[in-house]
């Protein structure tokens, strides 16, 4: 059954699970990405980002759960999904013997929505020489070609799996420019994973943080940035209160200094903290996305170690 109407979410994932052998790499993952939004997927290496994105494209078989991409289950009809989605993986394996023009000519008939004008525009924007062979292109230009092939058919959903890893800032700017132009041009959905926090902060209006196959956070990027705070408290006797306040992501003690990162911060959080452990002084520190991301991962790993 498919539901590809314009008001339905672009991506719906419910209870997704994936194993490689005995290792469970995705555990009970649920996501709901609205059309027209830009979803940034953050996670350390091996967290399950690529696996999730491959499952969305129907490139892997899932063990459990439901996946709908633009209303279509990729496990049932991956060809339809691939026609409507542009996908750029981390590593490019475009046929090295092809010229840029050959790659375009090869992909063009595969997409009913291929737009020659858009293709020409992207060729110009990325300054790609159609006569050059893929094996003669620099790494950055190969990624640009992959992005061109993914965007020239006007996809409803663009999935980028860390394509900008290892590229210089100028090339990254070119690529981001291309992606943002495509996104702004029409209401399209973007799902991307990246380790480059400034890129994520610039593009994503929604963020998901994943570690070891478990989704730790899924929500608007503004909410994440505005309501996640680090509290620095001075412990009178060097001992933390028996009961931690609600919404603690990560905490650590260094001498008498106690650093706590909390989600859903309100002035009430400080009051509760001071009331709980005889703490007299609390500083509230704003965090950037990278610090928040690190604290989410550290917090989960510390919790995993404790249990």
């Amino acid at each position: 059954m498919t539901d590809s109407s314009a008001d339905s979410p672009a991506v719906v994932v419910e209870g997704l699970a994936k194993r490689f052998g005995r290792q469970e790499v995705i555990h009970d993952l649920s996501l709901n990405i609205a059309r027209g939004s830009a979803f940034g997927f953050l996670g350390p290496n091996g967290a399950g980002k690529t696996t999730t994105l491959k499952l969305l494209m129907g490139l892997l078989r899932r063990e459990a759960g439901n996946v709908r991409v633009l209303g279509v289950d990729p496990a049932v009809d991956d060809t339809t999904v691939k026609r409507r989605v542009g996908y750029v993986p981390e590593q490019q394996f475009i046929y090295r013997w092809m010229r840029v023009s050959d790659a375009i000519r090869f992909c063009r008939p595969l997409y009913p929505t291929w737009n020659d004008d858009r293709c020409a525009e992207l060729l110009k924007l990325f300054a790609l020489d159609p006569g050059k062979k893929v094996k003669e292109l620099s790494k950055g230009n190969v990624v640009k070609l992959a992005l061109l092939l993914a965007m020239a058919h006007e996809p409803e959903l663009l999935i980028l799996d860390e394509p900008m890893a290892g590229l210089d800032p100028l090339v990254r700017d070119d690529l981001l420019d291309g992606v943002l132009r495509t996104l702004c041009d029409r209401e399209r959905t973007l799902v991307f994973s990246s380790h480059a926090m400034p890129d994520v902060q610039r593009m994503a209006d929604r963020i998901g943080i994943i570690d070891e196959g478990v989704l730790l956070y899924d929500g608007p990027s503004d909410t994440l940035l505005n309501t996640t705070k680090r509290l620095r408290a001075v412990l009178p006797n060097g001992r933390t209160p028996d009961r931690l306040p609600d919404g603690v992501i990560c905490h650590r003690v260094s001498g008498r200094e106690w650093l706590i990162t909390v989600r859903d911060f309100t002035p009430e959080t400080v009051r509760k903290l001071t009331a709980a452990g005889g703490i007299t002084h609390v500083d509230v520190i704003d965090l950037n996305l990278e610090e928040i991301f690190k604290d989410y991962i550290r917090g989960r790993r510390a919790a995993t170690c404790e249990t």
Partner: protein, 226 residues
């Protein structure tokens, strides 16, 4: 489909060229030996006869090299090659129906194999015909030409089927070719041991080849990344 076949053909262009060069070397070898040893006298009929006889032997060798080595190499490279160099991952992101992708690879493998078989077969027949002109009868041809063709076709089917089967399982064309040759050697040993029914192999081998090819195609179709 034409798009995919063009890609499959172009992707294996180097291998196909190599097969052509190897066959060319096999054909040219007698001529080079004759020239190097000064055995070729263009004004002596006997010299031409001996060269044509050598060429005929070479052309027979070329046919068997094609059947036993080139055919599995072409099939294995076409089916496994993209998996080995990971370009199949690029194709996997594109909206290519798996049935079409498998059909394209198998079609190109069959067409290329047939082309080389036909070429080597025709060269062989041509050499035999030319040599026979010296004798006024067909030389070097076993009495039952049809029987030879039947044996060759049987082995072709078996080798192609095994190539399809092993290529669908393995991720390296070299490994797949070695597996094909190993399996073929085992089967040949088994068939040769059936002394009382030597022609049983002619019935079993093609069926085995067809079944292997079908199983190989099915496994390929089941793969998410071909």
């Amino acid at each position: 489909m034409r798009n995919l076949m063009w890609k499959d053909l172009r992707q294996n262009r180097n291998l196909l060229l190599a097969v052509g060069v190897i066959l060319g070397v096999i054909y040219l070898l007698p001529l080079l030996v004759f020239l190097a040893m000064g055995l070729l006298n263009p004004f002596q009929r006997e010299s031409w006869r001996r060269l044509l006889e050598s060429l005929t032997v070479s052309s027979f060798i070329a046919v068997w090299v094609t059947v036993l080595l080139m055919l599995p190499a072409i099939a294995c490279s076409l089916i496994t090659g993209e998996r080995a160099d990971r370009t199949s991952q690029f194709a996997a992101y594109l909206p290519i129906p798996r049935g079409k992708a498998v059909a394209s690879r198998f079609a190109v493998a069959i067409l290329c194999s047939l082309a080389f078989l036909l070429l080597s077969g025709l060269v062989c027949l041509g050499c035999v015909a030319l040599t026979s002109s010296f004798y006024g009868r067909l030389a070097f041809i076993p009495n039952d030409l049809l029987q030879v063709a039947r044996v060759a076709a049987t082995i072709c089917l078996l080798m192609f089927g095994l190539a399809c089967f092993w290529s669908s399982l393995l991720s390296s064309p070299v490994q797949a070719v070695l597996a094909v040759l190993g399996t073929a050697a085992v089967l040949a040993t088994v068939f040769l041991r059936i002394h009382d029914r030597p022609f049983a192999a002619y019935g079993v081998a093609p069926v085995l080849g067809l079944v292997s090819a079908c199983v190989g195609a099915w496994i390929c179709h089941r793969r998410l990344v071909l």
